[in-house]
């Protein structure tokens, strides 16, 4: 009751809240309509594709749709001994439909991924079915078992059963060099086949060091930019921004010209006698090339947030620090540096996230030891056409970035980020 008695009315007797909502409604609608195109754009180009990627990466419905009856009858099978006549019969009936649709090859391929050896025995069964050799009035189980001895092996039937769920984590496990073994346990692949984990680690390592290099080089530049008189700082700003106006490919290509063994940098080293002509160091097609080119390309992303933060720091603060008795270093370390942390955070986060998904530069100058996970993703997108695997790795990358963002928020606080 008390809240009702307290309700404030406008002079016309309408409750104030309702009146306010009415007055604000037009503004709200207008605001929403203004952002609606962007929202739609985001949904279509960002949220929807990510959802699509996610379903693709865990999707295993193809085989579920191919063998509906088999999986249905397998539900009651304990999986320890060979399945019953009923399972064999439903399998045959599913298989016949696939043969009619000429999709039995796909089935063989998919099953072979689960367990080696399915290719042969599926082909053999196909021939029997094609020639109508299987008499459905007799025991189907006996006849299929006669097709190939592997059909008598319970492990193959277990493999079929494992493919029953419409979703699978296999792609994610594969990206971590792991797989589900026969007992449904997560197992590591043999050591000589572990390539993805190396790539993940290398990606994080490269991103980390590129961030460190960008910070070390960007901080003084940003400071100079923020403190120089306008006419010089504008010129310097153009130098910083110039890479932005040049095509990424051109920049990477120019690094190739500079860094290759017969390149400009090596020529210069030979000229000043740093290295001998027949012993030129390799600076490209390895990590060095990746570091150098990526640092240069990502440098503006470090400089700009730092600059925008430094620009707001009043020069009188440093003066105050000095006049109060701090040496220039103390004044810098205790006064100036802590105030630039929001810029450092923003710059590092930006560079790290961009570096972790970098593709074109490592692809061109990285060589074998300088390729990163994104190159692997591209490889699976373009060459093997295993899109679901590429999606899985892409999503893991996205997840990693979100984790870093979360960690950063815990450590520095997102409110402290200043992008400009």
């Amino acid at each position: 009751m008390s809240s009702e008695t307290k309700q404030i009315l406008t002079t016309d007797g309408i409750p104030l809240e309702i009146s306010l909502k009415k007055a604000e409604r037009k503004n709200k609608i207008r605001a929403f309509l203004l952002v609606a195109p962007l929202l739609l754009f985001l949904i279509i180009t960002y949220i929807f594709p990510i959802g699509e990627m996610f379903t693709r990466s865990i999707d295993d419905k193809m085989i579920t749709n191919m063998l509906p009856k088999t999986f249905k009858s397998m539900e009651t099978w304990d999986g320890k001994e060979l399945p019953s006549e009923e399972v064999f019969a439903s399998f045959l009936s599913d298989f016949k439909i696939l043969v009619e649709k000429k999709e039995h090859g796909k089935l063989a391929q998919r099953l072979n991924k689960e367990k080696n050896g399915f290719n042969t025995i599926t082909k053999k069964l196909f021939r029997q079915v094609k020639r109508n050799k299987i008499d459905e009035t007799q025991s189907i189980k006996e006849q299929i078992m006669k097709v190939h001895k592997r059909w008598r092996n319970v492990e193959y039937w277990q493999a079929i059963k494992r493919t029953a769920p419409p979703y699978t984590s296999a792609k994610y496990l594969k990206a971590m060099d792991m797989y589900l073994n026969e007992d449904n346990k997560i197992t590591q692949v043999s050591e000589d086949r572990r390539i993805h984990r190396i790539l993940w680690l290398r990606t994080v390592e490269v991103a980390f060091f590129v961030t460190v290099f960008c910070f070390l080089m960007g901080y003084p530049i940003a400071h100079l930019l923020a403190t120089l008189p306008m006419k010089y700082s504008n010129l310097l700003m153009i130098c910083v921004l110039l890479p932005f106006w040049t095509s990424l490919l051109v920049r990477t290509a120019s690094w190739m010209i500079l860094l290759q063994q017969q390149g400009v940098v090596n020529d210069f080293f030979v000229l000043i006698g740093l290295v001998s002509d027949d012993n030129r160091p390799e600076m490209m097609y390895n990590k060095v090339g990746t570091y150098v080119a990526m640092t240069q390309i990502l440098l503006p992303f470090m400089v700009l947030p730092l600059y925008s933060v430094m620009k707001t720091i009043s020069p009188s603060l440093m003066r105050a620090g000095k006049s109060l008795g701090g040496t220039p270093f103390v004044a810098f370390w205790k006064v100036y540096f802590p105030l630039t942390i929001p810029g450092i955070g923003a710059g590092c986060l930006l560079v790290f996230i961009l570096a972790i998904g970098y593709y074109i530069t490592p692809a061109l100058v990285g060589g074998a030891s300088g390729t990163l996970i994104s190159n692997q993703i591209a490889y699976h997108m373009k060459t093997t056409l295993d899109w679901s695997f590429a999606s899985a790795m892409g999503l893991m990358l996205l997840g990693g970035v979100l984790v870093i963002y979360w960690l950063y928020n815990k450590l520095v606080g997102v409110d402290n980020i200043k992008l400009g």
Partner: protein, 361 residues
């Protein structure tokens, strides 16, 4: 105990930023120990440059500055031991009030309990005890100002510089801060060099005022002398209000001279005129010219009221007097009723002593 009258000494100091224009020209200035001296002048007059040279953020192009008889041009700012209050306070925004005040003590490696004591004392001096853990952004402008003053004093510097410290405060706060700073100065006896362009501030706070214009000290004297006896027309114009007449000296004796104006003649006090025929600007303070004077005055003129502006405690009357249409009178808002109406003619009188014949404009 005799105080050192040359505690801070500017000796023939010149300063130029671009090698073409002198911002400070041949500055010679002695500041005694414990003095409150104000550098007053319009913007661009070189006063802040002088302060920055004293603090060590600018180097004199020529000449030398002495602090307690030691030349300081080659001493970096952090070794000069000069406290400074900046225009925008320059409090460290990422530190609490306590940490801000402890900063100068920590860099001097003072013991922790000693720091606590000094910070406590400094904060109580500016009546901000209990604010130790606040961040500067949580304080009002006046409080930030007081923290800045406390921080500049907490390490017992010999000299404290203040660069327009009250510029960002509103009028009432500014006035109360003026008294507060003045009292702090009186209590601890530190030498203060204060820079401002606000003459009211300069007049209320200082022992002496150096009026700067065009890179030079125009006049250095106590506030009352500066106001009552300006030595040139710039100072007369800059400090307080001022009615002026331009004219030529026609007769001159020891304490009085006759000045011929465009339409009329007045008697004036010869300050910077020496002989007949000198061009001069005669300056009269508005409060020294009286309406319908009862006593006999040296100058008696009649003027026409052009404008009446009500100011609360007084009324300003603009007259057309002797061809000067900007002649201002201040009429106190007392009970005697004057007929101040537009277009009325009134009688105005002043003594020749108060009409100072200065250099021509």
């Amino acid at each position: 105990m005799s105080k050192n009258t040359e505690f801070v000494k500017f000796d023939k100091v010149d300063k130029s930023y671009d090698g073409k224009v002198l911002v400070v020209k041949d500055l010679n200035l002695n500041i005694s120990e414990g003095e409150f001296i104000t550098m007053l002048g319009p913007s661009g007059s070189g006063k802040t440059t002088c302060l920055m040279m004293l603090a060590g953020f600018e180097t004199p192009t020529n000449g030398e500055i002495y602090l307690d008889s030691n030349p300081i041009s080659n001493i970096p700012p952090h070794k000069r031991g000069i406290g400074m209050v900046f225009q925008n306070y320059a409090l460290f925004p990422h530190m609490t009030v306590y940490e801000n005040l402890a900063f100068p003590l920590r860099v001097r490696k003072v013991q922790k309990d000693e720091i606590d004591k000094k910070v406590d004392k400094a904060l109580s001096m500016v009546s901000l005890s209990g604010f130790e853990s606040r961040m500067p952004a949580q304080l009002s402008g006046g409080q930030q100002q007081r923290v800045a003053v406390a921080r500049a004093l907490v390490f017992d510097p010999a000299v404290v510089l203040m660069d327009e410290p009250l510029g960002a405060l509103d009028k009432n706060l500014r006035e109360s801060m003026q008294y507060e700073i003045k009292h702090i100065h009186e209590n601890i006896g530190v030498t203060v060099v204060y820079v401002t362009h606000d003459q009211g501030e300069a007049l209320t706070m200082s022992n002496r005022i150096a009026v700067f214009n065009d890179g030079k000290v125009q006049q250095l004297s106590s506030p009352d002398k500066l106001y009552e006896e300006p030595v040139n027309s710039f100072v007369a114009e800059f400090i307080g209000e001022n009615n002026t007449f331009g004219g030529e000296v026609t007769d001159i004796s020891k304490d009085v001279c006759k000045v011929k104006l465009q339409n009329g003649e007045i008697l004036a006090n010869p300050v910077s005129v020496t002989s007949k025929g000198d061009k001069t600007t005669v300056s009269i303070r508005p409060e020294r010219a009286l309406i319908n004077p009862k006593d006999k005055m040296d100058n008696n003129q009649t003027g026409k009221i052009e404008e009446v502006i009500y100011h609360g405690d007084h009324t300003r009357v603009r007259l057309d007097l002797l061809g000067n249409k900007e002649f201002i009178l201040k009429v106190p808002n007392s009970s005697n009723e004057l007929d101040l109406k537009l277009g009325n003619e009134i009688k105005v009188g002043w003594n020749s002593q108060d009409a100072r014949a200065l250099d021509p404009k």
